[in-house]
């Protein structure tokens, strides 16, 4: 890059950064979060304090964090990538050793102020780490075996730790999110073909391990797979979630049963209606129109991120933005697929809508990074 080029491009500094924030994206995030508040208010039976209000506070905190992250130059975050990744791995190990057991899985670490879920943190840290790695790597070496192995290990370490908790949903998200960043970075097709083939082999290995001494998944995970494959076998037992969730969705019809009128959620037929299954309440009360609208909002967020990323000139910014967008995409695709009976129930929340702190905060940090890349992009005068 010549000096001349440098002089015609500049990076916003100081308070002027506010002007360069991707405000449309912020607006979209607020819109999705508002849908969440509305639904949390509804599933609480018109109670604001129960879920909606804490969620609002968290989102407000998330917005604040997002702006803080956004105003810090993107190259600072690139330099922090390895640290964030290392810290997240350490936290995952710590959770393994000292973590609280919640919902049958070791997932939380209590920091006193906030109960942290390191696996959530890892989703962003991993994307940062990989983006930084490919930023560092010579573009021509990307497909060399050694340089493919290194990011693969970077992905597999946290995935294995999360799987051990066990948290199948997050493990899938990490694996897929990491894989997508590698794919975007230009790793050769063949690697993915081989991995995919190996994946199929692994799935069959997992399934065939059932009932043996070296069983790779816990019984409840196997049961979830069973009931996914055929929820009708046990409609009142393990298949209950999927069956009831599909009933709620379907009964919404074209335009829904009306705000706070969903009988499935109102009468407690829906499981975890304020967390993983909140989409069903939305679909029940606002119907196909409501559900598709939320899907459209999500897709729009991804599209905004992608279009921003394609304007980014440096590899770190591009890959980071696309990685965050891909992670976000995976979140809602997996959640919606699972409540609609397209995937086993793996415990992935609906991003920005499901009740819960860690996931939202981490996502907002991710969008902060996206904004930071956007703001600190060199622009022509």
């Amino acid at each position: 890059m010549s000096y001349l080029e440098y002089t015609v491009t500049r990076v916003p500094t100081g308070p002027s950064k506010v002007l360069y924030v991707n405000w449309a994206l912020v607006l979209l995030l607020c819109a999705v979060a508002s849908v969440g508040f509305l639904m949390l208010y509804s599933v609480a039976g018109g109670n604001l304090e129960r879920w909606a209000e804490p969620q609002m506070k968290r989102f407000a905190l998330g917005l604040f964090v997002m702006f803080v992250v956004a105003f810090v130059p993107i190259w600072f975050w690139r330099n922090m990538a390895a640290l964030a990744y290392g810290l997240s791995v350490l936290l995952l190990v710590a959770v393994e050793l000292f973590g609280e057991v919640g919902m049958g899985a070791q997932r939380w670490i209590d920091l006193g102020v906030i109960r942290l879920q390191p696996s959530e943190l890892m989703k962003i840290a991993l994307v940062m780490m990989l983006a930084a790695y490919y930023d560092w790597l010579d573009i021509n070496k990307v497909s060399r075996p050694l340089y493919v192995l290194m990011p693969a290990v970077l992905i597999l370490i946290p995935t294995a730790l999360v799987l051990k908790q066990p948290d199948l949903g997050t493990a899938i998200l990490l694996l897929a999110g990491g894989g997508i960043v590698m794919f975007l970075a230009g790793v050769h097709w063949l690697y993915f073909a081989v991995i995919l083939g190996a994946g199929v082999g692994a799935v069959s290995a997992v399934l065939s391990s059932r009932g043996t001494e070296w069983q790779l998944l816990k019984d409840y995970q196997f049961r979830r797979i069973d009931t996914f494959l055929d929820p009708d076998t046990d409609p009142l037992g393990a298949g209950y979630h999927i069956t009831q969730s599909k009933i709620a969705l379907g009964s919404g019809g074209w335009s829904g049963r009306g705000f706070m009128q969903g009988t499935q959620s109102r009468l407690n037929f829906l499981p975890e209606k304020h967390t993983d299954f909140i989409f069903t309440t939305l679909a029940e009360e606002f119907g196909f129109l409501g559900a598709v609208s939320l899907l459209a909002l999500y897709v729009l967020i991804v599209v905004f991120c992608v279009s921003a990323a394609l304007k980014n000139k440096d590899r770190f910014s591009s890959l980071l933005t696309l990685g965050v967008a891909a992670t976000f995409f995976l979140y809602f695709v997996v959640n919606m697929s699972m409540v609609m009976g397209l995937m086993p129930v793996v415990g992935v929340p609906l991003p920005l809508v499901s009740y819960g702190g860690s996931a939202m905060l981490v996502l907002m940090v991710g969008f902060g990074l996206v904004q930071s890349a956007h703001i600190h992009r060199p622009r022509g005068r």
């Binding site: 190259w75 930023d135 379907g250 009988t263 394609l310 440096d314 590899r315 609609m340």
Partner: protein
């Protein structure tokens, strides 16, 4: 330069290319999600809407009120009485044990009841009402209601349960209801959902069982919204059911009561029938039992008392009992012979006291014989040899045909449990069932109503009604359903020569009203209520030659179960018959001594409409009769304790 990142056009292009591929995949996934939503929410919406409604809405049945049963005068025979119970709801009760302890101070409840209630309370969700005590007295319920503030979560409830105000009088006839059992359900192909209600009561025997479908009525429904835990949120709507039909029986409760009382503890059966329309005016089987015991759930001890006695109180002997008709069958044999022309009414038969057939000797009941006997005398004095002779001449098949004409061997379509067929034997029957040829000796036995011949008291009453009217009267038990009169039992004229029938009737008149008649002692002196009939004494054992030689066949010397059955069939008044009566006293001894007096009392009660007037009895018997009638414990059906506040 602040930035050290590699800004590389080649890298940017590569990322863009890969992003196109990924974006394409993502778009496919997003579209797939949207299509899935469309499938679930638009295409399949109706299905899932229905499933959601099924989830949310429970349909509860409202049990219909069971139909009432009345006698022919409108007296209540079966009704529904209010039944008070106390229920507790755990979530309202707070400290359940303390509350129940307070309850026991008001209502006497034993330890076991409380323990069972506690178990049930803890098993159910906290909002489910659990019955603590059932069938309580009104006073207890009132005490609980007054003390309601001290008894949180406890409330009295009222339900309906079956009650039979006339108690044992109609036990065999109307039967009783009881909770549906598994075997009941197994017998029905598509059970009414009502039957699935715990402790729902259905007819178990008698009219209650046979008219179950009409008496039960149709269930109403109540649609209620429930949540996932089953708690009722609200009632959406209700459709009232249809109460069961009310039945009116042909039976006269007063007469029925009189008959039951008259039979006392005797093991006996009496049928009183209107000869015009076939209405069964009384259908009494003795001893009886209290059907209300079964409604409440009879105790093992009480049940054993009923099953352990040879008097078989649970059996309805009027239709289930099968007895050799004995001499009451002689009219059939005589009529068959007259119709066939093998004898004339005046023709006499010489009775030396027995008839010899090959090496066997068939005895007449009178050892010395009756001498020359014609038709009238043979019935009047019940000469056996006369019937051996004419029976042999006419043959069993003609006799059997005549018997069937008069209702013997026929299963009448009455709403009673296990209506028996009796047995009218003939050649074909013996070949088919026994694989043996019919012998002349069989004919001799059959011609005096012994041997294979069996009849129910109902069939005997039908026989005398048909003899009295010459029409094929059919018995009926249900007069009307919901006020709709049921078809009457007045039948077509029988294909029998009326002159021959008149001769038989004259001979039956002689049995009671002629000085030499076997039932002369049971005559009625009031001409307008005079009775005609026929005695019967049927052996339940064979008298061995040794016994005959030793002279041991005095009934009184035998154990009860080997004594003869005493029978009597009658119709009255003689000139214009209104009623037909049959009486069977199991192991009662002679028909003239044990059965005829009962038949007379019953006939008089039926014709007079009240306790028989002493003036209808012969002078010399009056003080004895008066004594007997005075001892009868009768009840007026109109003042029966039908309000049903009786305590369980």
């Amino acid at each position: 330069m602040k930035r050290s990142s590699r800004d590389n056009d080649e890298s940017g292009r590569r990322i863009s290319r890969r992003m196109m591929v990924l974006g394409g995949a993502q778009a496919v996934m997003a579209v797939a999600l949207a299509l899935r939503m469309r499938h679930l929410q638009v295409t399949e919406a109706d299905t899932y809407r229905m499933l959601a409604e099924e989830n949310r809405i429970n349909i509860r049945l409202i049990p219909p009120i069971r139909g009432m049963v009345y006698d022919r005068a409108g007296h209540v025979v079966a009704e529904n009485e209010q039944n008070y119970r106390i229920v507790v709801v755990r979530e309202d009760a707070g400290d359940v044990e303390e509350t129940l302890a307070r309850l026991t101070r008001l209502v006497p409840l034993d330890e076991e009841t409380i323990e069972r209630a506690m178990r049930e309370i803890n098993r159910h969700s906290p909002f489910v009402p659990v019955t603590v005590a059932d069938r309580l007295h009104w006073d207890d319920v009132a005490r609980v209601a007054v003390n309601a503030p001290a008894l949180p979560g406890i409330s009295p409830e009222v339900g309906l349960s079956r009650h039979y105000p006339l108690g044992p009088d109609f036990a065999h006839l109307v039967g009783y209801v009881g909770p549906v059992s598994e075997s009941d359900l197994a017998q029905i192909e598509t059970p009414d959902p009502l039957l699935r209600i715990p402790r729902f009561q259905i007819g178990k025997t008698g009219v209650e069982a046979k008219y179950e479908d009409r008496l039960r009525g149709k269930a109403g429904t109540r649609r209620i919204e429930v949540n996932a835990a089953g708690r009722v949120i609200r009632e959406l709507d209700r459709i009232e059911g249809q109460p069961g039909s009310d039945l009116q029986l042909t039976v006269d409760a007063g007469l029925q009561n009189f008959v039951q009382a008259r039979l006392g503890e005797e093991s006996a059966a009496v049928v009183v029938m209107d000869v015009e329309r076939g209405d069964l005016l009384a259908l009494a089987s003795s001893p009886s039992f209290d059907p209300n015991l079964f409604v409440r759930g009879i105790s093992v001890a009480d049940y054993r008392v009923l099953t352990d006695t040879p008097y078989r109180p649970l059996s309805n002997k009027t239709v289930q009992g099968a007895y050799p008709p004995g001499s009451t069958f002689k009219m059939i044999t005589a009529l068959a012979a007259l119709e066939d022309g093998v004898i004339t009414p005046e023709e006499t038969v010489w009775c030396p006291g027995h008839l010899t057939l090959g090496t066997r000797r068939f005895h007449c009941w009178k050892r010395g014989g009756h001498g020359h006997v014609n038709l009238i005398a043979s019935v009047e004095q019940s000469c056996d040899v006369y019937y051996y002779d004419i029976g042999q001449r006419v043959g069993i098949d003609k006799i059997a045909e005549m018997a069937r004409k008069f209702g013997l061997g026929e299963v009448f379509d009455l709403p009673l449990s296990a209506v028996g067929a009796g047995l009218v034997p003939d050649r074909a029957w013996k070949r088919a069932r026994r694989g043996e040829e019919w012998r002349v000796g069989d004919t001799l036995n059959a011609s005096i109503g012994q041997g294979y011949v069996l009849s129910t008291p109902l069939q005997l009453a039908v026989m005398s009604a048909r003899l009295a009217t010459g029409r094929a009267v059919v018995p009926r038990l249900v007069k009307s359903i919901d006020g709709v009169e049921q078809p009457s039992g007045a039948g077509e004229p029988l294909d029998v020569n009326p002159a021959n029938l008149a001769r038989i009737r004259r001979s039956m008149d002689a049995v009671v009203n002629s000085r030499r008649g076997t039932a002369y002692g049971s005559r009625v002196v009031a001409a307008e209520m005079a009775m005609a009939g026929k005695t019967g004494t049927s052996q339940v054992r064979n008298i061995t030659a040794a016994e005959r030689a030793a002279g041991v066949f005095r009934n009184e010397d035998l154990p009860w179960e080997r004594r003869d059955h005493a029978l009597f069939v009658a119709y009255a008044p003689v000139e214009t018959p209104k009623i037909a009566v049959s009486v069977v006293v199991e192991h009662g001894g002679g028909g003239s001594a044990a059965a005829a007096p009962i038949a007379r009392d019953v006939t008089l009660r039926a014709l007079h409409g009240d306790v028989p007037p002493l003036s209808a009895y012969p002078d010399r018997q009056r003080w004895e009769i008066e004594e007997r009638l005075r001892k009868l414990r009768l009840r007026d059906p109109g003042t029966a304790p039908s309000s049903g506040r009786s305590r369980a």
